[in-house]
């Protein structure tokens, strides 16, 4: 039976440096599951960054050998920060914090929407506190953000934002402008406080999936701001990103060519996309992570999970830029603990180098 020869920290460090490692790393992408393992509510997890970090420590104690840093944040950023209202799920009544009221209700209100200062504001303050704890523990500042498109969707409301693509394109561009400026100001704050070299920026792209929007919508409305944000990250000296290309982005990929992602960043994909094709597209400067079916993790037997992980490892292990075994999206809170054990077992059994 394979025994780990590196600590998770060594393994990830060497992977990023493109040096040989002992086995395929496993990043759990766990938030709600971590809260469950730690015996706290999802409201506590999201509202109190210190509890999220503690929950992550309990997760790793339960499943020794998991790689990567703790996960935090959620997809619906923007509403709270721009003056709307959200609710934390202290009774586990929802999986992540929910928007109760968006900051704007109509296209006419867009011109009045002010870009707030991220310092001390809304979610960004929580992410900042999370990063402070991480730095105190000797880790990296994890800048958990969302894409400009998701920030705009949270400000407008997802459904309305999708309609505005066709009905109010001018106002949508205006909100995208403000969302991008807010995200840029946030990265400035973190870079100043922690040093850009110590920051890892996470960005998620669920709303840009081709299950929702067309490649043309992506090109016209989302790609320009995503590119601008990345150009800003690079100019500020950010050297590592985790890009969660959620869902199906196959039709959008050609427009990612002009988005400057720092080399050795991690591109994580869902199980609709192919690990190999995605790696071929991004090239050997990037680490590809994925794409274990969350459905199998949540509902499959340990053997089914192992076989699903083997599929990913067979496809990903020898990718030239490197590979991480990771769920296709957030690890479902209901996932049996045996499924996470099976992921690690698969990495050791099939993923040894």
């Amino acid at each position: 039976m394979f025994q780990d020869k590196m600590t998770p920290k060594e393994r990830m460090m060497r992977l990023i440096q493109k040096k040989p490692i002992d086995r395929v790393p496993v990043i759990p992408f766990s938030k709600g599951y971590s809260a469950r393992i730690a015996g706290i509510s999802r409201g506590d997890f999201y509202r109190y960054p210190a509890k999220a970090v503690e929950a992550d420590a309990k997760l790793r104690a339960r499943h020794p050998g998991l790689d990567g840093g703790p996960s935090y944040g959620w997809a619906d950023y923007g509403a709270w920060d721009f003056g709307g209202e959200i609710k934390f799920p202290f009774d586990n009544e929802s999986q992540t914090p929910q928007v109760l009221k968006t900051p704007i209700q109509s296209p006419e209100e867009v011109s009045q929407l002010a870009v707030p200062d991220p310092r001390g504001n809304g979610i960004m303050q929580l992410v900042f506190e999370f990063s402070q704890i991480m730095r105190q523990k000797g880790g990296r500042a994890m800048v958990y953000l969302v894409s400009p498109g998701n920030c705009a969707a949270s400000i407008i409301g997802k459904k309305d934002m999708l309609k505005w693509i066709l009905k109010h394109p001018g106002q949508l561009h205006e909100v995208m402008r403000k969302a991008t400026d807010y995200l840029k100001a946030t990265t400035d704050w973190f870079a100043e406080e922690f040093g850009a070299e110590n920051c890892t920026v996470y960005l998620g792209y669920p709303i840009e999936s081709n299950q929702l929007i067309s490649p043309k919508h992506f090109k016209d409305f989302f790609q320009p701001y995503t590119r601008e944000l990345h150009e800003h990250l690079l100019s500020r000296g950010i050297k590592l990103c985790i890009e969660h290309i959620c869902g199906d982005h196959r039709g959008n990929l050609e427009y990612w060519r002009d988005i400057p992602i720092p080399p050795r960043s991690i591109i994580t994909i869902g199980n609709i996309m192919s690990l190999r094709d995605t790696a071929d597209f991004f090239g050997e400067d990037y680490i590809i992570a994925g794409n274990v079916s969350t459905e199998i993790l949540a509902a499959g037997t340990p053997e089914e999970v192992k076989q699903e992980c083997k599929r990913c490892i067979d496809e990903g292990k020898e990718l030239p830029g490197g590979f991480v075994l990771m769920p296709a999206c957030n690890l479902p809170a209901v996932t049996p603990q045996e499924s996470v054990d099976a992921m690690l077992e698969a990495a050791r059994e099939f993923g040894a180098y």
Partner: protein, 214 residues
């Protein structure tokens, strides 16, 4: 082409374009011309939505187009509704639909709802973040044959199992057809939790609903 055909074709185009005002205007013209409102739905607006559903499955249209077409459909329906007599609508199969507890993503659910309505089902929409018991209570109250639930979040999938288990607990499992849908679920997941079927898209959900209740 008769005047009626011209109106219905125009209505299809208005719905497909997501033009609320034009859809309402043509619906009013149809009523004024004495066209049966049920015909307007079944031969005008319904086929427009069904075509968009097929286009979505084929990757030829996307959610923004479906959403604005849905708005036009409902705008037209608002004009027609006062003229629809219940006995005229026939004995329509009833569906209780909602997004499961723990999730508030309702775009997919709304599209399934509108496709079901366009196909002639009577739909009771419980909205989002719906507890399992509420689905059952509504189905019992309305005499629905189908309970349809959706989620987009991997994290809320257990609520679907919760509903099936609750039906069994109450001895009601065989009384209802249980359909599931949404990004993270599948036919295999439906089988695992004991649901009757899974629809990968709004159009497929309607085909399955038709098959299961007819």
């Amino acid at each position: 082409m008769t005047d009626k055909d011209t109106l219905l074709e125009g209505l299809k185009a208005a719905v497909a374009d997501g033009d609320d005002d034009r859809a309402q205007h043509i619906c009013q013209q149809a009523i004024d011309s004495g066209i049966d409102p049920v015909v307007v739905i079944r031969q005008g607006m319904g086929p427009a939505m069904e075509q968009l559903g097929r286009d979505y499955e084929a990757g030829e249209c996307f959610i923004p187009e479906l959403l604005i077409a849905s708005d036009a459909f409902y705008a037209g329906l608002d004009v027609l509704r006062p003229y629809i007599k219940f006995d005229q609508a026939g004995d329509r199969a009833k569906v209780v639909i909602g997004v499961v507890q723990g999730d508030t993503h309702d775009i997919g659910k709304n599209l399934v709802k509108i496709m079901l309505e366009a196909a002639g089902f009577e739909v009771y929409d419980l909205g989002r973040d719906v507890p399992p018991l509420k689905f059952i209570e509504k189905a019992e109250e309305t005499g629905a044959k189908i309970i349809a639930m959706s989620t987009l979040m991997t994290t809320a999938m257990d609520s679907m199992q919760g509903l099936v288990d609750l039906l069994k607990e109450k001895g009601l499992r065989d009384k209802y057809v249980v359909l599931i849908g949404g990004g993270p679920v599948s036919k295999k997941f439906a089988d695992k939790i004991g649901a009757d079927d899974y629809g990968a898209s709004a159009s497929e959900a309607v085909r399955i609903a038709n098959r299961l209740v007819l």
